[in-house]
Symmetry: C2
Subunit: 302 residues, 2 copies
């Protein structure tokens, strides 16, 4: 069984230029909750001054639908965010840093070491409140400022996060430049240094069209947790028109037809994405979604 | 060294709804001829009654630029097409059939066996004129009418084409539904039955986002010839908005950064695609092209 973590409602919608109403977000989350995901990242408790698109985090969180087998997570950038998330009843939260020092400093205005120091009490507080913690390591292969990121840098930050009690670290190809040989090389380095597959998730971007090839090489190495975004929501804000997050539809299509069950119903997922796309008034980048929307399917294949 | 066969000028432009002038086609071909391809399929000598977009085949062919190491091919549906292609000086032509009987009959109005019978004298005539012959087998994994295509059907038609003197058969995932496990299974069957890697090319479509994953599994099996289309030109006419041919930019990006040299200069290729996109007045589906167009690159990566 492959575990998919749907990040569209948070990672995708926070990049929308035009504001999306809480009502539309709630409808999207309800539709996704019916699709069969193991985990959905619903929102982020970041300061509204940083990301005004997510100022409605409490309002949205109050209206989540419980589903058996489905865990909702919320991104928390700091202790204040954690407290808001816990107050909303989240049992799983996520923290984020980077493998690139330059990216960490430009993106979060602090060093990786400083982030890790802040995580320590935050993870402790979360766990005392009965919540588990997921971690994101962005720029795990390339940094837009520093270029190629070496595997040992990824290992160090990942190891440090796991040592703090974070139970799963998601490695992000934030700029979407990684190719399978590089994915293989970094993942093999992590395994060689004692990290275990269930401790790691892969978060690929499809900016160069390589996301599913990177998934394939990860599958071949035995990894089984992947992040994805409904419709491919979340184009990188630095590159208008460019594709960002790996589209959930493309991932589910490939995995299911390769014989890796995901639990996700492609048709329900696609309906959720198409309804949101109608609200956003634009086409989403998922290839499979466009194919399904065009009604182009064989008898055997949806 | 990986051999790339650029099919955009023929396979891509023949699907454009609005007519493209011979002048634009010639400019596109000239730009592509500078990019470093081993082979470019320039046009098709099909009857203008079938494909009016290609009625200018002679006019375009007269203006091709010779380049050392570059071979131009032309698609020929029949003896009349072959004679037109030879009169234009082509030293390599391509013929096409399908692995699916239903597709063959709907697409070319004849059975696979009838196509093979027609190929025999055509290949003979081409070779006597000093031209080599490439073959296309479409619907090698799925047929929009018949569903899943079994590997033995692919083997049979491919073997028959090779036996006629065709030197390379390109297997097409025409509807873009194949996933890597299926690609592996069919290719392994062909190898197990004595076909050799240099006799085969892979022609993937990115309709479900799986094209580069399918390339990866083919590379892992030792295959080294891939068809691609500049910008991803050639969306399937049955599915407006859906992506068709694997984009050359995406393929070149992945291969080069995995350490597989292609000879193709990504920047020149992208410039050719962007100039054509400007003439067509629309964005092309290549992920990498969109990224390059947005000027979004790291210092280390174009």
């Amino acid at each position: 069984m492959i575990k998919l973590v749907e990040v569209g409602p948070r990672d995708g919608l926070q990049n929308e230029v035009r504001p999306v109403s809480a009502e539309v977000k709630v409808a999207f989350l309800r539709a996704l909750s019916q699709a069969g995901y193991a985990e959905i990242e619903a929102t982020s408790f970041v300061s509204p001054r940083w990301v005004p698109q997510l100022a409605d985090a409490e309002e949205v969180s109050r209206q989540l639908c419980e589903q058996p087998g489905l865990v909702y997570t919320a991104l928390v950038p700091n202790r204040k965010g954690l407290e808001r998330a816990l107050a909303c009843g989240y049992k799983r939260v996520a923290v984020f840093t980077a493998a690139s020092e330059a990216f960490s400093q430009k993106n979060t205005n602090r060093t990786i070491a400083a982030s890790l120091q802040e995580f320590a009490p935050l993870v402790e507080q979360a766990r005392q409140a009965g919540a588990s913690v997921r971690g994101y390591v962005s720029t795990a292969w390339f940094c837009p400022y520093a270029g190629v990121i070496q595997a040992p840098a990824v290992y160090e930050v990942t190891r440090a996060m796991l040592d703090l009690g974070i139970d799963e670290v998601s490695l992000g190809d934030t700029v979407g430049l990684a190719v399978p040989s590089q994915v293989h090389s970094t993942l093999q380095h992590l395994l060689d240094n004692g990290l275990e597959r269930p401790q790691l998730a892969l978060h690929f971007h499809d900016t160069s069209g390589t996301a599913l090839a990177n998934v394939l090489i990860s599958l071949q190495l035995g990894f089984a947790t992947f992040d994805c975004s409904a419709g491919g929501l979340g184009g990188c804000p630095y590159a208008p028109g460019a594709s960002g997050n790996l589209a959930s539809e493309d991932l589910v299509y490939m995995l299911e037809h390769m014989g890796y069950p995901t639990g996700v119903d492609l048709e329900r997922l696609a309906r959720a994405s198409l309804e949101l796309a109608a609200h956003l008034g634009r086409t989403l980048p998922s290839r499979t979604l466009a194919r399904l929307q065009a009604g182009w399917q064989t008898a055997e294949r949806t």
